[in-house]
Symmetry: C2
Subunit: 352 residues, 2 copies
């Protein structure tokens, strides 16, 4: 197959981990006879510095001419005091909205070799294997009115039925392809938007008789993610709740440095990025863990290009390097073989 | 001193744990020469059943004629499908709003005897000692417009400067009386209300030069509560974030059954209730842990009545019974002396 991939390295460790992912993808292309075309472009702080905007027009055009987007990370102290429109995160928010990437998919999977670095007791973190599906282009993030002055402030949590339906359907499909359980998280005892959300879930479930559905309040979900995360298979929730719960979920297994994410729309186009962020403190030191970026590339192959075996090959290669006790300097718990980012990538490519 | 206390037992285990708290308060009154008058009234599901409303007029009147409110818990499956105005939680929301109880104060403190039941590794949960201060009468919970129909839904996150100032001041005062650190949690990179919130915190801090202030995004806070909860002293945040984070915080030390809470206003009037909820599955079995209710009574003595030594006496008595290895049947990890709710109360009173 022939595919065009937009690569947006971004800030901090973004460039080094993206480079790792690109190397692995090149190796996959060779092995499986695919042709990948690359479109490198800027986003986040780097784009603010060079082009005056966190999401320059050239970047949008590069993405529009591509079949999927691979992103590193955005943000850093350098831009923390910029005005809102010149902040790195704005690039992320704008690209999601521009491309209508309404579904953020975040798998949380315990990695046996890393359980030691989980903050949870091992018997709780062990075998956690869930996916958080977060609505990404609606709710409090974008609703109007949205303004503040010296005296008061307002944000608006608004959802249309159609917006809820498409994310809920996405989550049902995902649950169906996994263990068949869907937990819909809302605050239906307080929020009107949650009442509509719950209604839609109840209606759509008729179309998925093979999926077991439960409703959970967001406060209860925040507790259960810690006390019994294994109870979850697929969780679906609105944008703001999803922001909080997916970050909470990202630390429970101790494998934050391993977690990929996808932000997709219905036609298969999507943006793939590691969960970990730009980690400016270790940027440029050749010690960032490139696993999450490589696993994000694997997600891209599977979800946007339907290259299942290629995706699995990457996933297995990464796990096998970890199982051999290798890790990068930013992981506190691993075997005792600490190697550089570059060396880690070579090992993964050897395993492929 | 002479004080009038409104007692609202509510649903599930509410009545049994409230009875425990009242017993302990009676014993305190005797020992310290106080006179407590009691006004019992209904709230929640029990009130819906008997008076057709989760917060009947008589209950409001009883509270208005009192110096503080002691509440058990509300809710249960029996009322889950009631229309919104007839649901137990509505009683809680209405009483908060009616009495302007804008500050929800939730201490989270690791209890050494219970660390074994923490989902976190002991080295992380050990010595956690923080207070979450949640704004309780504003934001998404009450903002208008707030409605849904078949096609769309809206909730409104609105705050006035005055609402933010009073909760932030409350939290600064609390930090000053503790370890002098305040973490203000918001989502200033996305929400306009958070921008005003952050501004107000920045302004008010001039009045508290002895308090160190940090701002943290809500997603980062959700992670740090798990990875390093000891880093927090006082956390302050808006209503919806506070709902999620305080429940997340309530499970990290394994001592949910021990956690009290206060919902107060500036003049000292307040509502005190255990965090744990109504636990309908174990109601009426004489096995609920009454500690949180007794510790809520202690909070009431300290915060509403300025009876510091009386409050400490209760707290020490409860801890000492636990340290002796006693616990009720609902605690998974404790010494091996499981006793009934009533017996536990007797033990605490003996210790007083
Ligand atoms: C950077 C920020 C705007 C963003 C969000 O809140 O969506 C981030 O936290 C995320 O989860 O991707
Ligand atoms: C019952 C519910 C309305 C309430 C809230 O969300 O405030 C509860 O979760 C709490 O935290 O006291």
């Amino acid at each position: 197959m022939e595919k065009t991939i937009a690569v947006l390295p971004g800030d901090g460790i973004g460039p080094e981990v993206t480079e790792a992912a690109v190397k692995v993808l090149k190796s996959i292309a060779m092995r499986y006879g695919h042709t990948f075309h690359w479109k490198f472009a800027e986003i986040g702080g780097a784009a603010v510095d060079h082009a005056g905007s966190p999401l320059p027009k050239e970047t949008i055009e590069a993405c529009e001419a591509s079949d999927a987007i691979l992103l590193g990370a955005v943000g850093g102290p350098k831009w923390d005091n910029n005005p809102a429109e010149q902040r790195p995160e704005k690039g992320l928010l704008n690209i999601r909205k521009h491309f209508d990437l309404f579904a953020n998919v975040r798998p949380v999977k315990a990695v046996p070799a890393l359980l030691g670095s989980s903050p949870l007791k091992e018997e709780i973190a062990r075998e956690v294997d869930m996916v958080i599906v977060r609505e990404l282009t609606g709710g409090l993030y974008f609703g109007e009115p949205k303004r503040h002055n010296e005296k008061s402030a307002v944000d608006t949590l608004v959802y249309t039925r159609a917006e809820i339906e498409r994310i809920v359907d996405q989550a049902f499909e995902m649950a169906r392809s996994r263990r068949g359980k869907l937990t819909s998280v809302d605050k239906a005892n307080v929020l009107e938007s949650s009442k509509l959300w719950r209604k839609v879930v109840e209606e759509r479930k008729a179309g998925y008789p093979d999926v077991e559905v439960e409703h959970m309040l967001v406060d209860a979900a925040a507790m259960k993610l810690i006390t019994n995360p294994r109870a979850f298979d697929v969780m679906v929730t609105e944008n703001m709740f999803g922001d909080i719960l997916s970050d909470e979920g990202s630390v429970i297994t101790g494998s934050l440095g391993m977690l990929p994410s996808a932000s997709i729309r219905s036609d298969g186009f999507g943006l793939y990025e590691p969960v970990h962020g730009s980690a400016p403190d270790i940027a440029g030191q050749n010690k960032a863990n490139p696993s999450a970026a490589m696993l994000s590339a694997a997600m891209m192959l599977r979800q946007s290009f339907e290259m299942d075996s290629e995706a699995s090959a990457i996933e297995e290669a990464v796990m096998s390097v970890l199982d051999d006790g290798y890790c990068t300097g930013d992981l506190s718990a691993c075997g005792n073989k600490v190697i550089s980012t570059e060396r880690f990538v070579e090992k993964v490519i050897e395993e492929l």
